[in-house]
Structures are given as structure tokens and as C-alpha cells.
Symmetry: C2
Subunit: 129 residues, 2 copies
Amino acid sequence: MAEIPTEFKDLLDKKGFAHVATIGPSGEPQSSPVWYDFDGYRLLFSQTKDRQKYKNLQKNPQIAISIHDPDDPYRYLEVRGEAEEIVDDPDFAFINSMAKKYLGKDKYPYLEPGEERVIVKVIPHHIPG
Amino acid sequence: MAEIPTEFKDLLDKKGFAHVATIGPSGEPQSSPVWYDFDGYRLLFSQTKDRQKYKNLQKNPQIAISIHDPDDPYRYLEVRGEAEEIVDDPDFAFINSMAKKYLGKDKYPYLEPGEERVIVKVIPHHIPG
């Protein structure tokens, strides 16, 4: 496990976007932005079960996340690691906490009927640079 | 080849950051942000020859690029494709044009002594969503 350097810890509290790269069915990279949280040593993000990224991580937990500082786009953090744990978010507590952080709302306003969500917990193995 | 949808063409002129995902030496994804340009059908970015991303693309040209709109972070474009062509930028014409777009400067101000740069030209194969 690698630790996120102290000088980047402030970035983990900011309302930036984390671009998440996973490996698709043909071994190809895929990338998309997500909201993120930090539990003290892992990066966390929410995902619906019907998204390709969720399916990719079930097959191959290798993941890279790059975040650029919304206040200074020339400063960025890359984390390479593994989706160590993927747990259900049945009462939407986690996605609601993300809505609180990013939108200032108590409930995530974009839930679709029947939507199932998980929390992906990413353990850093390597922090380049 | 896939074409970038018309409704995203404006994004290609903006000064956003493109998060580039490539496949590393152990098959793991890697991700980092770059400046980008568009030549009408391919996404272009500059890279130094000593960076891991350049080495990755020499071995495996598969690439994914996600760009979120700097004016609306909930709007984003993902391009999956291939580094179809990687050409030298010996007189730094391309990186200088990127400095013009992003910094309003005629010359890229961060060149290191002896730095060698290439232009990576990414052909879209699939535009998800």
C-alpha cells in the first residue's frame, strides 16, 4: 500500500472530479469522471451496478485515478491501485453524503427508479511523481 | 472510426483538461491530465519521450480520454480509441501552439534542457453514452 502524500491531502477534501481508468472487456482502457471521497487511506466513489466501470472492476480490480486541483489545474494527483472492496449502498447513505459534499443537498437528486449503487474503495499501490 | 458527436464539438475548442488512460507495463491502467487539440477527427496531445505514457503507447496504442467541460463539470466526453500516429515535434511547433491556446503565450515556457516532444494523435473508435 502507498500513502497519499501529505501535501496532497487538501485535494482530497475539494470538490474536484476524479477521472477513473479501468480495463474494459477487450483489455482496453476506459475513463470517466466521478465524485470522490477519502476515508483516511482509500479513495471512495459511488457507482451504479449497470455501468461498465462496475462490470470492469468485478473482472479486473486494477484502477487508476487522476484528480486535478479545481483551484489550480496544473496540480494533480495520480493514484494507481486496486478496487480493494466494493460494497452495496442499499440505503444510499454514501451517494447522499456525496450529494451533500458536491451539491449541498441532503439527498442525491438524480436517483433513477430501481437504481442500485455500490461504494468502490480504492487502495493506492503507487503514487507516481 | 467513430466521429465525435456534433453536440460535443464546442468542448474540443475549450481549455479543459483531457485525462488520458493508457495501459502500463503490468497491464494496469494509468491516468494523467493533458492539454488537448482536435484536428477535425482526431484528438491530439503533446508528450515528452521520457514519460511512462509515451512508453506505454509504444507498446500498446489503446487509449481512453475523458474530458469534462470546464464550464459545466457534469458534462463530459469520453473517447476510446488508439494512438494512431505518434510524430516528433522537433521544433516544438505543436507544444507552442498548445501554450498559445492555454496560456496565451507564443512559446511553451516549461521546456527542459534536452527535452524531446512528440504529438500523439488519437483516432476515436468508440464514443460511449
